[in-house]
Amino acid sequence: MLTNLRRVMRSGLINFWRMPVVASASVIAITAALFVVGSLLLAQAFFAGAVVDLQERVDVSVFMAPEAAEEDVLELKRSLELLPEVKSADYSSREDELADFQESNQDNELLAQSLREIGNPFGARLNIKAVDPAHYSSIAGFLESDSALSASGQALIDRVSYKKDVVDSLIRLIESSTKIGWALVIIFIFLSVIVTFNTISLAIYISREEISLMKLVGGSNFYVRGPFLVEGMISGIIASFIAVLLLYPSVIWVRNQTADVYGGIDLMTYFLDNFGTIFLTLLVAGAALGIVSSFLAVRRHLKA
């Protein structure tokens, strides 16, 4: 068995080397398919990063009543943190709020004088981030319930700043972009596989006489098919190297084009950080595409 395997491997390698035009056609087709797959992987990472960035910028700001005791506010913060929908709840004291306001209005002497006369008019603030944007509604509901009252029944909250329209739009955007993203991924991968399969089929069609002869002189299906599968695998492996080499300058170009675009990850950093995974994915996908396409293409000529 080992001898047979070695012979099949050697035969596939020799055929690949001695028929460079046919081999190049397969390599080019698989490279195109892998470039599409690699680009989609990076695009998906980029848009996922952009969505996360957008999610990070959305929160519910709860402005507490100035007379609310700090203990009661911290108790409300602890209650919020116990909710599974809440990712984080950051506390900003009355003093912090005043300091922030003064810093952002330090050039306005009139405001500064007014504050000195009336004292600190600000209440504390809680900034709440949800695990999922869809949870903001239920968090808002919690804040409107009795949980937001002090032990003496006094209302703790002055107002809740919750941009419902923005959050709802964000949810719709994420849902539809996920669906469109997956549809595009499936369509492009399907098209790439079809193009690759047809190119390899054509390359193997050229060898149909050879396949029929091998069968007529008593070659087993393993012996006849084996070298073509090896050729397909070699094409896939070489194509994965070329695809990665092509992705590198493409990533630099896209990064430069999208540098000023709001949100998202640094594509180059992502590419370099995940280089091993991306390369391994393309290597496995390329080899599999070459082997499966060759297997199916040879099968139709094996019926002699």
Binding site: I14, E210, G218, S220
Partner: protein
């Protein structure tokens, strides 16, 4: 060794290639099948290697009904038969040594046997100097000799030659016929199709004549009569 029992073959387009053909080829015989183009000669050979199935009748190799063999046993049967084709059918990406060695590899022969037997088979057909050439670098006669070396390297019980001299000049034709005779002299059964009168007359061996898919003559030391 080969027995055709009332074999008929009708293709899907209603063309009748063979019609109630019966004959026997004994072990060690050299038999030629002659007939015009379309008389059914190639169909007859294709049935022996299970490339075609009869519409009626049976074809036996020894006592085995060829067309009742399962797929994996057909490969075994084909390894017992050497084939020489009119158009040579060499593998273009392999050199001459590899073209011949391929047959031995499919039969599971060892590297040592391959290294010993392939040069010997090529020597028998006078192609030792071309052992590392590729088919595209050889003349038609040389290519046919490679095909013969490939057909005999596994020492088959039967050698089928389908119009082996059809694409050759008279000199090469005679050389190929001589080689086939030598192979037959070693005990290998040879069944050849041809429409070359000179070849048949020179051989002076058994001749089966096919006309419109029917055996019209079967002469033990026949001449080309059509």
């Amino acid at each position: 060794m080969i027995y055709f029992d009332k074999v008929s073959k009708t293709y899907l387009d209603k063309t009748k290639a063979l019609n109630d053909v019966s004959f026997t080829i004994e072990p060690g015989q050299f038999a030629s099948v002659v007939g015009h183009s379309g008389s059914g000669k190639s169909t007859l050979l294709k049935m022996i290697i299970a490339e075609e199935k009869p519409s009626k009748g049976k074809v036996f190799f020894d006592s085995t009904n060829i067309h009742q063999l399962p797929g994996h046993q057909i490969a075994d049967l084909r390894r017992r038969i050497g084939c020489v084709f009119q158009d040579f059918r060499l593998l273009p990406a392999k050199n001459i040594f590899e073209n011949v060695a391929f047959i031995m590899e499919t039969a599971g022969r060892s590297e040592h046997e391959i290294a010993e037997d392939v040069p010997h088979a090529l020597d028998l057909v006078g192609l030792t100097p071309k052992i590392w050439s590729f088919p595209s670098q050889l003349s038609s006669g040389e290519r046919q000799r490679v095909a013969i070396a490939r057909a005999i390297v596994n020492q088959p019980d039967l050698l089928l030659a389908d119009e082996p001299t059809a694409n050759l000049d008279p000199t090469n034709t005679l050389e190929i016929v001589d080689i086939l005779c030598k192979i037959n002299d070693t005990g290998t059964t040879v069944l050849m199709t041809t429409h070359n009168k000179g070849v048949i007359d020179k051989l002076g061996r058994r001749v089966i004549t096919l006309e419109d898919g029917q055996v019209t003559r079967d002469d033990k030391t026949g001449k080309y009569v059509l």
